[in-house]
């Protein structure tokens, strides 16, 4: 049960990041590696704010906005300086490593015994029965709110443009809208979500570490691909919901692998192997469908 809750917690936290990756990878068709830098950036900002005793609720909007600014920069590099999408992300990811060190002041910043969104007077005042589920309830709430806000946004005129730009960017130009601007907005929202995810992660784990971002984009991509390919046929389920479930399933797979006797040092290898397996299996499905048709 403890393991299950911990998988659910981790999965739901990473789900917010996966929603961001969903925007860039699936909607914008933009392989955005900025994620590996914006996730720990959210954590760094949060660790610093928390250790200074700032209200933890404030960390959420601050991290989202900081992430959005970073995403905007990636977009500007890509759109205005005409650097290829993959390289724009790599440049930002590399630069952010230094930025994160500067924000935190050092490579590792623990925030034990501080007030966080999981550990404050209101939460601690909750009745004892749900004490074990406090964290998961809070994470659930934040993830669902993020998901529904994203769903709402994708139905607006601005959100519809975002969906259209990855689909067929000529149409954006035909609609007399600057497609570069749409891409920048998309990257901003995506990285805002990623930084928000990093923010919650830091508060739940109670530390910031400069290397905690490594491989984030792989986790995000794996979650998006699991979610979208597993639940492709279930039309009642929104894609964003599939992504959230995909993220939890992915964390479940990793937890399973570890409980099978792998060491935590093997984690990245497991991540990579799982990702490969998901990609290959996802392709297999597609081919079979084509033969049927």
């Amino acid at each position: 049960m403890v393991l299950f809750i911990s998988v659910l917690e981790q999965g739901m936290i990473y789900a917010i990041m996966a929603l961001g990756v969903y925007i860039t990878y699936k909607i914008l068709d933009f392989p955005d590696l900025t994620v590996d830098g914006s996730f720990p950036m959210g954590a760094a900002i949060t660790a610093v704010m928390i250790s200074r005793g700032i209200n933890p609720l404030l960390t959420l909007p601050v991290c989202f906005l900081a992430g959005a600014a970073v995403g905007m920069l990636t977009g500007l590099i890509h759109v205005k300086l005409k650097v290829r999408d993959l390289l724009s992300g790599i440049i930002m990811m590399t630069a952010l490593y230094t930025v994160n060190l500067r924000i935190a002041g050092r490579a590792n910043l623990p925030i034990y015994n501080k007030t966080t969104i999981f550990d404050n007077d209101i939460v601690n005042g909750m009745p004892g029965g749900i004490a074990d589920y406090r964290a998961i309830l809070i994470i659930f709430a934040i993830t669902l709110v993020s998901k529904y806000l994203l769903d709402w946004y994708l139905g607006t005129k601005s959100g519809m443009l975002l969906r259209a730009v990855g689909d067929n960017d000529r149409i954006i130009t035909s609609l007399s809208v600057d497609k570069g601007l749409v891409k920048i907005v998309g990257l901003a929202i995506a990285n805002g979500l990623v930084a928000l995810s990093g923010c919650i992660f830091a508060q739940q784990q109670r530390y910031f570490d400069v290397s905690m971002g490594t491989g984030t984009v792989v986790i995000g991509l794996a979650s998006v691909i699991i979610g979208t390919s597993l639940f492709k046929k279930i039309t009642v389920l929104r894609v964003t919901s599939s992504v959230v479930i995909g993220s939890v399933l992915y964390k479940g797979c990793v937890a399973l692998a570890i409980s099978l006797g792998f060491e935590s040092t093997d984690l990245k290898m497991i991540t990579a192997a799982l990702f490969l397996a998901i990609l290959v299996l996802g392709m297999e499905r597609k081919r079979r469908v084509k033969v049927d048709a």
Binding site: Y153, S158, M160, R163, D167, T173, L175
Partner: protein
């Protein structure tokens, strides 16, 4: 009124492959004209459209729209007054969105794409009425993704979407070339109906000489970046397919085809 003045355009300048397409190219389309453009491959038809729309920049020269210089205006800004339909049906629609969503998106052109809801369910019937006359069965498929439609259906959608909002110019780039004869006919008739109804100034590039003569009130033939035939009104009506074909053969022989 659209006008190209003293346009020069070189491809691959400074290399052994340097090719001059336009040398002092001039072209003027008056309001209300529907110009059919014919010509061999590489004669500069599509390049001309691209220069008008701003997809490619001319090396020198001026582009005027209603007397206003738009030479340095970016493509997306120019397209606020221009609708454009491409040869490839998938270029004018969003395949992963439904017909309803595509039409809603197109209807908002010229207005701000803000945080208001994009799809307005009340518009459903209006859209259905718009699609019904096409006889393509699209009116019952509003919630079907456009990617699942046939090329002809998508092209009809693209045509409707590019002309839904008030525009002044319509640019058609071989928009029936990828369609079967019957669907091409439906799309041509739809084109003419829209052009007439909305009084659009249109330029249509086509390889179908019959369409070029049958539709529109002016025809030009291009060859190696020059206009070698330009007939309008009565003169155009008197023009016969054989004459155009004859001229076409002449230029083709010249090219060694």
């Amino acid at each position: 009124m659209l006008e190209l003045k003293h346009i020069h355009k070189y491809y691959n300048p400074g290399t052994v492959n340097e090719m001059c397409l336009f040398r002092d190219f001039n072209f003027r389309v008056e309001d209300g004209e529907f110009v059919s453009v014919v010509g061999s491959n590489g004669s500069g038809k599509t390049s001309m459209l691209n220069i008008i729309c701003g997809s490619i920049a001319a090396d020198s020269g001026q582009i005027l729209m209603n007397g206003r210089d738009i030479t340095n205006l970016s493509e997306y800004r120019r397209l606020s007054k221009i609708g454009r339909v491409f040869q490839n049906p998938s270029m004018g629609t969003c395949p992963s969105m439904t017909i309803m969503e595509n039409l809603s998106l197109a209807e908002n052109k010229g207005k701000s794409y803000n945080l208001g809801r994009c799809v307005n369910k009340k518009r459903r019937e209006t859209y259905q009425d718009m699609l019904r006359p096409l006889n393509l069965g699209l009116e019952d498929k509003l919630d079907v993704k456009v990617g699942a439609l046939s090329g002809g259906q998508r092209q009809a959608m693209a045509l409707l979407m590019s002309t839904m909002t008030p525009i002044e110019f319509l640019i058609l780039d071989e928009h029936t070339a990828a369609l079967d004869p019957k669907t091409a006919e439906i799309n041509m008739q739809l084109t003419e109906q829209i052009v007439r109804q909305k009084k659009l100034t249109s330029i249509m590039v086509t390889h179908n000489l019959r369409y070029a003569l049958e539709y529109g009130n002016r025809i030009i033939m291009m060859h190696q970046g020059k206009i070698i035939l330009d007939k309008k009104g009565k003169e155009k009506e008197d023009l016969h397919v054989d004459e155009v074909l004859g001229l076409f053969n002449e230029i083709s022989i010249e090219c060694g085809n």
